[in-house]
Each structure stands twice: as structure tokens, then as C-alpha cells.
Symmetry: C2
Subunit: 359 residues, 2 copies
């Protein structure tokens, strides 16, 4: 039996329903900037073991909630679990980021790929979702997530992180059909993976399109947006008698918010290069917005953090449909005490923008 949700601000805000204050969570809120995370990570031995051990993944998911009054938990995992489960052989080397032992380079490599069964090859993720839901005991909702097909494809083709994305862009411009084939199987895998997370207990879903912003507009629509739209269309949107809100986030995708809003998702992540008020005017009543403080603001002192946080609410303006967040993940250099200032500032500053009395 799942316990009733005590704080549903996030789910309400994502569906543009009234809330007493703007809910707040932070991308990568569980991560290297927290000493308790680094301790668990050391205990795990490797980043991958941390992701693949449900008890440890659950532990680090909950760590930021012990410290800060956040309105959501987000599953601790990595977007590359899917290509790993597809057989590409994922590893992480310190300081160098992810590596695939068997990157996807030829049409034979692509033909060989199949969408993994989430409850088999990715069972450790589903177990982490189930365990975390149990441990959360209804305090706040749990967000599940996946990478966008385009973003996953960049790693699968390049074999890891990239600066210029030469290989995957070479494929895009030279053999678009082959890239579509790769994106198609990846989109199927992501859809099944997200639906399995919902079945396991995720209460909202987010698709991270970290690298959509490196594409030209036409290429973005054809190779990234389109596949996210397919995923949205394939998601089960209800569980436990509640709607499961879906958030799409293309970093550097500020020019394409209207297109993203038209996919049928519930909310858009917005990075800090976009004015949130302008973004709101552009998307109108179609979607909620999540964001968008520059994570570098956390390098400033308390006064700077408070004034810049207040700006985000002023930019969005009065009314519902806003989830406070950073415009990108918390960076490892961040002082946790600065995060505390931020989370407390966000709780206070948003109240005047909502007409609903505090519960």
C-alpha cells in the first residue's frame, strides 16, 4: 500500500493548478556537491555501482531532502542506463566522463540494437524507484527521468562525451536514414523505460534533451523534437488515480519552446538564457514552466543568491504553472550552504505571487 502524498505542490504546479507557493527542486540536487553523497559514492566504489544498487541509489536520492525543504525527489540514476542495457558497455572514468566500449558506428551496429525490457535489463532502476517510493512514505513526489533519443544517440555514436559531435553530426548530414533508425529504437526504449518507472511508482516524468541545443532548427525538429513527441504520445499518463505530468527539457532550446509545448507534454524545463516571463507569454496556457536560475548564481554570496532568486519569480509573474528550479544541474563546486540559502529564498519569495492561502 502506498501512503498518501502529503505535499503535492509539484504535481499541481506541473498541471497548472493553484498552489500556495511555488514548488522547488533542483536538477542534480543529489550529487557531488554534497559530502554525504561523496561518502556513499566512495562506499559504492564506482559511480556505476551506485546507480545499479537500489539501496545506494535510494540513499543518495533522499540525501538532499534531509538537508533542504525541497518539494520533490528525483530518482538518482544516469541517462546512459538505456544504451548500457542495449549492450554498449558503459563505464565511467574519473574526470573523463562516460565511455562506451562498443559505440554505434555502422548500420550493422544499429540493426543489432533492440529496446531492453525495463523489468529485466533495467530492473535495478525499477527496484530503486520502488524502494525510494517506500522510503519517501508520501513526503514529496518522486520524479522519474530519461535522456532524449537524440541526446542518447550523441553518446552512443561518439562513444562518450563530445565537444564537436562530429561523428553523430556526420551521420546526421550523411546518412539521415540510419540516424532515424537509431533514434527510432532508442525512442521505443525510452518510452518503455519511462512507463516502467511510472508502474514502479514515479509520480512525474522528465525527459532531458541535454544536447538538442547544438542542432540547427530544422535538424532539431527532425532528429530531436519529433522523437520526444513520439515518447510523450506513448506514455501512460495516469497512475494511482493521478495524472503523471511529463516535463520536456531541451537545454539551449529557448528558440523552440512553442514546438516543445505542442508535443502534448505538461511542462517545459527552461534554461537561464530565456526570460521566464517572455517564455510564459510565448507558450501561453499550454504548459507549465520549470526553471530557470543560472546555477552559477550559487557562486555568489547570500545577498546575490536571494536577489537573483527573487528575480525568477518576478520574471514569471503572478499565477500558477511555475516550478522553481535551476536552468541546469547543480555544479560540483557548489557550497551546500549556498543551496540552503537558495531553497529558503525560493520558499519565501514565491508566496506573494499566489492567491491561494497557505494550507
Amino acid at each position: 500500500m502506498k501512503e498518501p502524498l502529503q505535499n503535492d505542490r509539484l504535481l499541481r504546479a506541473l498541471l497548472r493548478q493553484p498552489v500556495d507557493r511555488t514548488p522547488a527542486w533542483l536538477m542534480r540536487q543529489a550529487g557531488r556537491y554534497l559530502p554525504e553523497y561523496r561518502a556513499t559514492r566512495t562506499r559504492a566504489g564506482s559511480f556505476l555501482t551506485l546507480c545499479q544498487t537500489p539501496e545506494l541509489a535510494c540513499e543518495v536520492t533522499l540525501q538532499p531532502l534531509e538537508r533542504f525543504p525541497l518539494d520533490a525527489a528525483i530518482l538518482f540514476s544516469d541517462i546512459l542506463t538505456i544504451p548500457d542495457a542495449m549492450g554498449l558497455g558503459l563505464s565511467f572514468s574519473e574526470g573523463e566522463g562516460p565511455r562506451f566500449a562498443r559505440p554505434v558506428r555502422s548500420s550493422a551496429d544499429i540493426a543489432r540494437l533492440d529496446a531492453p525490457d525495463p523489468e529485466k535489463e533495467l530492473r535495478y532502476v525499477m527496484d530503486a524507484v520502488r524502494l525510494t517510493r517506500r522510503e519517501l512514505a508520501g513526503r514529496v513526489p518522486l520524479i522519474g527521468f530519461a535522456g532524449s533519443p537524440w541526446t542518447l544517440a550523441t553518446y552512443m555514436v561518439e562513444g562518450g562525451s563530445s565537444k564537436d559531435f562530429i561523428r553523430v553530426k556526420g551521420l546526421l548530414y550523411d546518412q539521415p536514414k540510419l540516424l532515424h533508425q537509431l533514434l527510432e529504437v532508442t525512442a521505443r526504449a525510452v518510452t518503455a523505460y519511462l512507463n516502467a518507472q511510472t508502474a514502479a511508482g514515479a509520480q512525474a516524468l522528465m525527459v532531458f534533451d541535454t544536447w538538442g541545443g547544438i542542432l540547427a532548427p530544422r535538424a532539431y525538429r527532425e532528429f530531436s523534437l519529433d522523437y520526444m513527441a513520439r515518447i510523450v504520445a506513448g506514455l501512460k499518463r495516469e497512475a494511482e488515480q493521478r495524472r503523471i505530468p511529463v516535463i520536456l527539457f531541451t537545454k539551449g532550446g529557448g528558440a523552440w519552446l512553442e514546438d516543445l509545448a505542442a508535443t502534448g507534454c505538461d511542462a517545459l524545463g527552461v534554461d537561464w538564457t530565456v526570460d521566464l516571463g517572455e517564455a510564459r507569454r510565448r507558450v501561453g496556457a499550454r504548459v507549465a514552466l520549470q526553471g530557470n536560475l543560472d546555477p552559477a548564481v550559487l557562486a555568489a554570496g547570500p545577498d546575490g543568491i536571494r536577489s537573483q532568486t527573487a528575480r525568477v519569480f518576478a520574471d514569471f509573474g503572478p499565477g500558477d504553472g511555475h516550478v522553481f528550479n535551476l536552468g541546469h544541474g547543480i555544479q560540483p563546486w557548489t557550497d551546500p550552504e549556498h543551496v540552503r540559502v537558495l531553497v529558503e529564498a525560493a520558499r519565501e519569495a514565491s508566496v506573494p505571487y499566489h492567491s491561494l492561502a497557505a494550507v
Copy 2:
């Protein structure tokens, strides 16, 4: 005596005057992708010596023109010559990029800065301009350039390249007045430097705002755009009885083209994340546009290069006010033979979009 200009397509297009075909040049057209550049670079011993030796800088400036039928030369130099002349102690280490021995960190560091005299501390640049003009002998115009004050400030404060720009953003959010003081002296230095390049023979000017796109909209206007507008206002706009066109380029600044166009510049550089037709509708008749092929297209084969190049002209549409270019510099991995395909494709594909008969 300076010889008359035989190919003025670039200057005409930047001023939105009729041309028989769209002029083409490529950002970083002189650079590491060319074996003859690497040979000169080896001969020079270091990148800095290459920049500081007028004969060698002139030699590499001319190299791409010997290979490809380009419509402009751009001075071979580096945007960091100005902070170096301000006493910050520039060096380049292989693979690591630029380093300043004395980065700017305190108010005392900033108070100590003064705009260098271009004909003294930066005489080697002016000598390179004069020599290159002589060697060009009127074949094509010579473009001079500088970094934007914000972009230079990122290097001056961080002490080199950066990933997160924590230090300079910390300054921005904590001590905005101090950052303004730094930007003010840097803007004065850039203005004097560009005017000196014009006096030495540069026939068009470009300001590279490589890092404006990492800023939030309000911060961009206050800390980058404003200082570029001051520079434009301070430039001598005529030399040798010709107007000196000024191009502003904020990489990742697609959202702010209207603001950039309002500075009084003649043309905007546009990166590949913006649709050139949409950019043209937005800026109207105020400025010409320069761009915007994704440099990663050069990783594709000849067919891909040709079709993507044709797209750029189709996106811009019929009429004048377009300079063909990449949306960012040529990358070192680029095959020079692919650049040849590109330059030839650009020459051919643009003709149908112009009504002026070939001269």
C-alpha cells in the same frame, strides 16, 4: 598608395547593397586545419610568436586565399592581445588553451588597468594589418577584429578558458559595479584598437562575443550588449572614402538579434541554431546577416556539404544583405578538401538569389 579593391562583394553585402553573388568567407579560415598553417606555426615556435610577428601573421592570413576563392581575408590574430597588452601576461600551452599569469581578481587589479596605445603596445597587430593590406594588393578586403568586452573579461577574470565561468559570474552577481569598471576600460581599449586597425588598413570590422550566450537575458544586455553598443558608437565608420562596416557576433545570442541590430552596427553574425530566414524577418532592413552553416557539416561528404550549403541560401531567400559563413569557426579536424567543396558550392548556389548580372 593603396591599390583599388578588385572584389568589394563583402563590403557591399555588409551594407545591404546589390551583389552578383553572395560573398563567402569562413571564420578561422586561416588555422590548424591547413597543413601550410601548421608548418608556419611550427616555424614560429609558438602560437603567440605567430601572432606577434607581422610577416608570419600576414603569411597565414593569406594561406586560405591561395587555396580557395574566398571573398575576404581576416587578420590572423587572437582576441587576447588586448588583455596581454594590459599586462596580464598571456601564454598558450598546447592543448590547454590560453593562460594569464596575472588574472584580474580584486578591485586593485581592476583599478590598475588602462587601455593600451594600439600603436605602441599593440604595434605588431597594426604592422600585420599594414603588411597584409600591401600583400593583398586589393584582391579582397581585409577584416579586422576584436573580442567583446564581456568575452575578454571572462578570460581576464577566470585566468583562461572556463567551463562554468564561476569567477566572472560570481563577480557579476556579487559585485556588478566592479565588473562594470572592468568592462568600461576594456571597451575603451577595444574601441581604440579597432579604430587603429581601420587606420592601418582594415576595411571591415568584426566584434566576437564568443561568451555572451552564457548569460541570462538581463545580464547579457547589461554586461555584454551595452558595451558592444558603446564600441559601435565610438568607431570611425569611414576610411579611404568608403564606409567601414561593423559586424557584431554573439555566439548563442539568437534570442537577442533585435537588440544587437539596434546598436547601430551594419551586420550581425548568426550561429547555426537560428533559422536565417527567421532572423532576416526579425531584423528587417536594419542590418545584413552573416552565417550560418553548422561547421560540423564539414564532417559530412560532398553531397551533404552541398545540400546543407544550398539550404543556407534558401533559408535567407532572394535579395541582398547576406554574407555566407559558418556559424562558428572551422574546427581543426576539418579536411581542407571539404572546405573546397563548401566554398565552391557557396559560389554557385547563391547566384539565383541575386538579380544583379554577373560582372
